[in-house]
Amino acid sequence: MSDFLQLIISGLSTGSIYALAAIGFTLLWQASQTINFAQGEFVMVPAFFILIGSRVLGLPFPIAIGFGLAVAVFTLGFVFKRLVIQPMLPHGHLPIVMATIALAILMRELVKEFYSAEAQTFPALFSEQTFDVFGAVISHQDIGNLAVSAVAIIALQLFLGRTRTGRSMQATAQNPGVAEILGVNVQRMVLYTFMINAALATLASVLISPIYLAKFSNGEPIGLVAFLAAIVGGFNQVRGALVGGLLIGVIDNLSAAYLSSEYRIAGPMILLIVIILLRPQGLLGTSEGRTV
C-alpha cells in the first residue's frame, strides 16, 4: 500500500511536468492548428541554453535560468513562429508535420554535435531529501515539482481568463476571423501563444532535467508523452492536457512497476488507442465541429 502511494505521488510529480509540455502543445494547436512534433525537443533544448549560460558564460545558476528562458522564448517562440510556421500555415497540416519532425532531428543533432553526446548533470531546484507519509517515501523534489507546475498552470489560467490579452488570445483560438473583426491583432496573439509555449517548455526542462539528466535524446520520449497527454485529456482544453499529463505520469509509473518493464510504454499507448476509439475528443474535451 505504501509502495502504491509512493508510485502515485512520484507519478503525479513527473505527470505535472508532462502536463506543462502538453499544455503548450494544445495551446499551439488551438492558436494556429500547429501540431508540433518537435515539442519534446522544445523541452530538451532549454536545459542546454541554461547549461551554456552557467558553464560557458559563467553566469550564476538563477541568472542562467533567466538567460535560458530568454533565449528559448526568442528562438523557440519568435523565430520558430515567424520563419518556420508562418510561411506554411496556408498549406494545411502536412508540411508543418514534416517540418517540425525535421526540426526535431535538427535540434537533436545540433545539441549532440556542438554541446555533447553525453548526459549532463543538471542542478536541482529542490533538495533530494525525503520524508515519510504513511510509510511512503516522498522526496522534496516530487512535492516541489508538483507545486511549481501547479503555480505555473494556475497563473496561465488566470492570464488567459482574466486579462484582456489573455481573452484576446482565447478569441483568436476560437475564431480568428471574428476576433480580427473585433479588433484583435490575431498575428500578435498567435505569436504570444508561441512564446508562452516556449516558456512552458523551459519550465518543464528545468524541472525534468535534474531527474532524467540533460541529454540530446531526451526529446523523443517527452514529446511522445506530451502528445499522449494532450490527446487523452482533450486537444482543445488546457485543463484536459493537465489531467492527461497527470494520468499518463501515474499510469506510466504503475505499468513500469506492476507490468513488465519491457512493455512499459505499451500501457500509455493502449490507453491512447482506446481513448481515440471511444472518446476522440479526449476525456475533458468538447468535440470540434467539422467544416464542410
Partner: protein, 325 residues
C-alpha cells in the same frame, strides 16, 4: 506530349536495366533498396496523397511483411507464399487500423498509427521466441525463380525491378480506375464525395488497407535483400523516412514517391563527405523545402510548368486548410 512521356518512361526503364552493370556491388545494393522503399512509399502515397489519410505505420507494415517472409522462407516455404501471407496480414491489420480513420480527423490518425508502430516495435523486440528479439533473424534466403538462384546481387536487383514494375503498373491501374477517382474525391472533400454516392467508409478503409499491403510487399522484398532483419529497421523513424519520401517527392503525384525515395536514399551517399553533419544538413534541407515549397518537388515542377503556360496550378483541397490565418 504523350509520346514524349512514353519515351521518357522507356528511357528511365532502360536506364534502370543498364544501371547495375555500371555499378559495383554496393551501388547495386543502393539501387535495390531504392526500389524496395519506393514500393513502400507508393503505398503510403495511396493512403496519404490520394486518400488524404496520414499514416505513420508504414514501417510497421514493412516489418510485418519482412518478418513473415523471413520466418516462412527460413522454414523452407516458397517466397511467393510468404508474400501472399505478409501482404494479406498487412491488409487485414490495415483494415483494423483504418477503422479509427472513420471516426477521427487526420492528426488523430497520425497518433493512432504512431502508437501502432511503437507497439509493433515492442512486439518485435520482446517476443524473442518468434522474432529473435533485438538480435533479429539472420540468414534470410533469397528466392530462386525457375530454378535460377538469386543469391547474386545483380540478379536479385532484376527480380526486385520486376516486382517493382508489376507493383507500379497495378498502382497506375488503381489510381486511374473509378476507385482512384473516389480516393481523390475523398481527399478533396469527403462530405461532397459522400453526397455524390461514394461510400466513404469503404473507400477510406480500402485506401488504408491497400497502402498497408504495399508496405508488406516492400518488407517482403527487403528481408531477402539485406538477409538480416532486426526491430531497429522498422521503428518510427523509418516510418517518418517513408513519409518524408512521399512528401518531398510530392504527395498525390504518381511519380512523387519514386523521386522522393530516390532523394532520401541517395542523399546520404552524396552527403557522406559531411559525416557527422549529414543529418543536420538533411533536416535543415527538409525544413527549408517545406517552408519554400509545401507541395513537394513535383508540386514545384507543376507550378513552374503552369507559370510558364500562365495557367493557375490545380487547387488541392488538402493543402488549403488553415488558410484563415
Amino acid at each position: 506530349m504523350k509520346q514524349l512521356k512514353i519515351l521518357g518512361l522507356v528511357a528511365i526503364l532502360a536506364g534502370l536495366i543498364i544501371a547495375p552493370f555500371t555499378q559495383a556491388t554496393y551501388g547495386t545494393y543502393v539501387l535495390s533498396s531504392w526500389l524496395v522503399f519506393t514500393v513502400a512509399a507508393m503505398g503510403l502515397n495511396l493512403t496519404l496523397g490520394y486518400a488524404g489519410q496520414i499514416s505513420l505505420a508504414q514501417a510497421a507494415f514493412m516489418g510485418i511483411g519482412a518478418y513473415s517472409t523471413a520466418l516462412m522462407t527460413m522454414a523452407g516455404l516458397p517466397w511467393i507464399a510468404s508474400v501472399v501471407v505478409g501482404m494479406g496480414l498487412c491488409f487485414v491489420v490495415g483494415l483494423i487500423l483504418g477503422y479509427p480513420a472513420l471516426r477521427v480527423q487526420n492528426h488523430f490518425l497520425a497518433f493512432v498509427t504512431l502508437a501502432f508502430t511503437t507497439l509493433a516495435f515492442l512486439v518485435m523486440r520482446n517476443e524473442e521466441w518468434l522474432t529473435g528479439g533485438i538480435y533479429g533473424l539472420v540468414g534470410v534466403p533469397r528466392p530462386s525463380v525457375a530454378g535460377l538462384s538469386l543469391m547474386d546481387g545483380t540478379r536479385y536487383y532484376f527480380f526486385t525491378l520486376g516486382v517493382f514494375i508489376l507493383a507500379s503498373l497495378s498502382f497506375w491501374w488503381l489510381v486511374n480506375s473509378p476507385w482512384g477517382r473516389a480516393f481523390k474525391g475523398l481527399r478533396e472533400n469527403p462530405i461532397r464525395a459522400n453526397s455524390l454516392g461514394v461510400d466513404t467508409r469503404l473507400v477510406t478503409l480500402l485506401a488504408f488497407a491497400i497502402g498497408a499491403a504495399y508496405g508488406g510487399l516492400s518488407g517482403a522484398l527487403m528481408a531477402p535483400l539485406v538477409q538480416y532483419i532486426d526491430p531497429m529497421s522498422f521503428t518510427l523513424i523509418i516510418s517518418l523516412k517513408i513519409l518524408l519520401m512521399v512528401v518531398v517527392g510530392g504527395s498525390g503525384y504518381f511519380f512523387g514517391p519514386f523521386l522522393g525515395a530516390g532523394l532520401v536514399i541517395m542523399l546520404p551517399e552524396f552527403l557522406r563527405f559531411a559525416e557527422a553533419y549529414y543529418l543536420m544538413i538533411y533536416a535543415a534541407l527538409v525544413v527549408f523545402l517545406m517552408v519554400v515549397c509545401p507541395s513537394g518537388l513535383l508540386g514545384l515542377l507543376s507550378r513552374g510548368i503552369a507559370a510558364i503556360r500562365s495557367r493557375e496550378p490545380a487547387e488541392r483541397g488538402d493543402l488549403k486548410e488553415g488558410a484563415q490565418l
